[in-house]
């Protein structure tokens, strides 16, 4: 593990006590409702918040150890921090903003990296502009580039999408995906939006009331029926790792996953490409017998694992080694007589395919 975090701090009426680790690279989502302590954790990693007790190791370097009296000041931490409100320097051009951290990095990234980051984040046309002439999405991309070019050991993303409307969000998400796929460093994404987490993260740490309530891969945690209890958010659906198996003549692409095959409208990715498929809980219908003569392309044989209570019946399914989650009404669940272990057919109405 490349990043280890352990923190304890008492605020009036709120105690923070967490310990978790991040892998060498890839996005780990720090998920929880507002006030759960997410930003405090990120601030502690950046060094702008000093916890009473804690130990933080980033890339083999101890940046905080209250027991040993180690506190590396934020300016020497090499933590690339992307703030929710971008915080670009208003008196500098986009270019000077981008290079602010680069110029101060102890080991500068080669200048080819600058051009690469500018291309990766689509900033070429903005370089001479002042931040006040940028849209919210553009500001977010500049903030990403600025943090990235400071040669950080870790990238901290504090709800970089939260202040943006749906359109700007859609504009910046692909850039975040590029960054995730190309940057060889651990990224911690603070979020309270599960769809964002499902799209970007490999791992998830759920924080509730200052404690880690669940952690693991998104493939497991997002199909956990207890998620609403631990995170205050209902499960939105499953995330499945898949591989392009074949491009068929009928205009469909076959995707293999651990438990079966999914057919989707033709993808441009070549055979063998690894993808992430998201299946929303509302997009799955259940049947006791294999249905015939229907328009849906995907009917998967599965087994009921568990059924959640509440207004809806969230049915956790096992399809081979893959977990799915279907949202049906309690009435439907009763009519079908669903019980754990019962074999069913999951009719998947639609899926969303993302880069893995």
């Amino acid at each position: 593990m490349s990043v280890e975090i352990a923190l304890r701090h008492e605020f009036p009426g709120f105690a923070l006590n967490v310990a978790f680790a991040l892998p060498q690279q890839g996005v780990t989502a720090l998920f929880g409702v507002s006030g759960a302590g997410k930003t405090t954790i990120v601030n502690a990693i950046a060094g702008t918040f000093r916890p009473r007790e804690g130990r933080i190791v980033v890339n083999g370097r101890v940046v905080l150890d209250t027991g040993a009296g180690i506190f590396v000041p934020p300016a020497a931490r090499r933590a690339g921090y992307v703030f929710q409100d971008a915080r670009l320097f208003p008196h500098m051009s986009v270019k000077d903003n981008l290079l602010f951290g680069w110029r101060r990095a102890p080991v500068k990234a080669p200048s080819a990296e600058i051009d690469h980051a500018i291309a990766l984040l689509g900033l070429g046309a903005l370089l001479e502009r002042r931040p006040r002439h940028l849209s919210g999405g553009e500001k977010g991309r500049v903030a990403l580039g600025r943090a990235l070019l400071s040669s950080p050991d870790i990238l901290l993303l504090d709800e970089p999408l939260a202040s943006l409307d749906a359109q700007r969000r859609a504009e910046i998400l692909p850039y975040l995906e590029n960054l995730r796929d190309e940057a060889k460093l651990p990224m911690l994404l603070v979020s309270h939006a599960l769809d964002e987490v499902a799209r970007l993260a490999h791992d998830i740490v759920v924080v509730k009331d200052g404690r880690v309530a669940a952690q693991g891969s998104v493939f497991d945690v997002l199909t956990d029926l207890d998620l609403s209890a631990i995170a205050g958010a209902p499960p939105v659906g499953a995330v499945i790792a898949a591989t392009v198996a074949a491009q068929r003549d009928d205009g469909l692409t076959a995707l293999d996953f651990d438990g079966g095959t999914l057919f989707v409208t033709r993808l441009k990715q070549p055979v063998g490409a690894r993808l992430r498929v998201r299946v929303r809980a509302e997009e799955i219908m259940l049947a006791l017998e294999e249905p015939h003569g229907i328009s849906a392309n995907n009917v998967l044989a599965a087994r009921v694992v568990a059924i959640g209570g509440g207004a809806h019946a969230d049915v956790q399914l096992a399809c081979g080694a893959t977990r799915l989650i279907a949202r049906i009404t309690q009435a439907s669940s009763a009519r079908l007589g669903l019980t754990p272990g019962k074999p069913v057919f999951a009719i998947v109405k639609s899926v969303t395919v993302d880069a893995l």
Binding site: G47, P74, A75, A76, H91, R104, P106
Partner: protein, 229 residues
């Protein structure tokens, strides 16, 4: 200018400008430091420091001149020390007039700079920190440039106030032609002589012109500072 102004008039004008320039720019670093202290830190006695800085605003200038005379007179505690150890004399010298002006206009500078410092998003400084900028780095590359409109406003207000300073200067360093006789003091001197009204009027007109030129330049400078920020 010599053809329009008499030698005594141009002398008073240039002296006014020199004294105000030295007073304002000499005090500026200290004003910035105090503004930073008041805007960014909390410490016991902050209210007292804030109050002391503002004392010249409410104290009669004559009283300030008198207190300066007591402190910086050649027999005063500070004046004696400065004269004997460093050879610096403030009384009856233009440097004394600059010192008096600096003290009187100090609150204007501190207030303007403090206001602009307080309006800067503290998050920018934090962002600079996470990008590897140390304290001085942040001061010179983030805080100072963003406070420029306030610094410009402070300079303008202090310079304007300094040009009109009378009471403290005449009490502390007297009214010596060519040394401490600034425009207001020259007007006063002209009025003390029989038939000096015409001269006083000429000097007043010079003051008005100076004020107009100065305010125009100041407005332009502030506009530029605003646009740059």
């Amino acid at each position: 200018m010599d053809s329009i102004l008499t030698p005594a008039e141009s002398e008073a004008l240039l002296l006014s400008l020199r004294i105000s320039f030295v007073a304002v720019f000499g005090a500026l670093p200290f004003a910035f430091a105090f503004a930073l202290l008041l805007a960014r830190t909390r410490f016991p006695g902050k209210l007292l420091v804030d109050g002391l800085i503002h004392v010249p605003l409410v104290l009669p200038p004559v009283a300030i001149g008198f207190l300066l005379l007591l402190a910086f007179g050649t027999r005063g505690p500070l004046g004696g020390f400065l004269l004997h150890s460093l050879g610096i004399r403030f009384v009856f010298s233009w440097t004394g007039a600059a010192l008096a002006s600096a003290i009187i206009t100090f609150p204007f500078q501190v207030r303007a700079i403090r206001l602009s410092l307080e309006s800067i998003d503290r998050g920018l400084s934090l962002a600079a920190q996470t990008l590897g900028a140390g304290w001085w780095d942040r001061l010179f590359n983030v805080t100072l440039p963003l406070a420029l409109p306030g610094i410009a406003a402070g300079i303008v207000t202090a310079f304007a106030a300094s040009l009109g300073e009378f009471g403290a200067i005449i009490t502390f360093v007297s009214n010596i032609p060519g040394e401490t006789r600034t425009l207001p003091l020259a007007i006063y001197a002209a009025l003390q002589e029989p038939g000096g009204e015409a001269e006083a009027m000429r000097l007043s007109l010079i003051s008005i012109l100076l004020a107009l030129v100065f305010m125009t330049v100041a407005e332009l400078a502030q506009r530029r500072a605003r646009d740059a920020a």
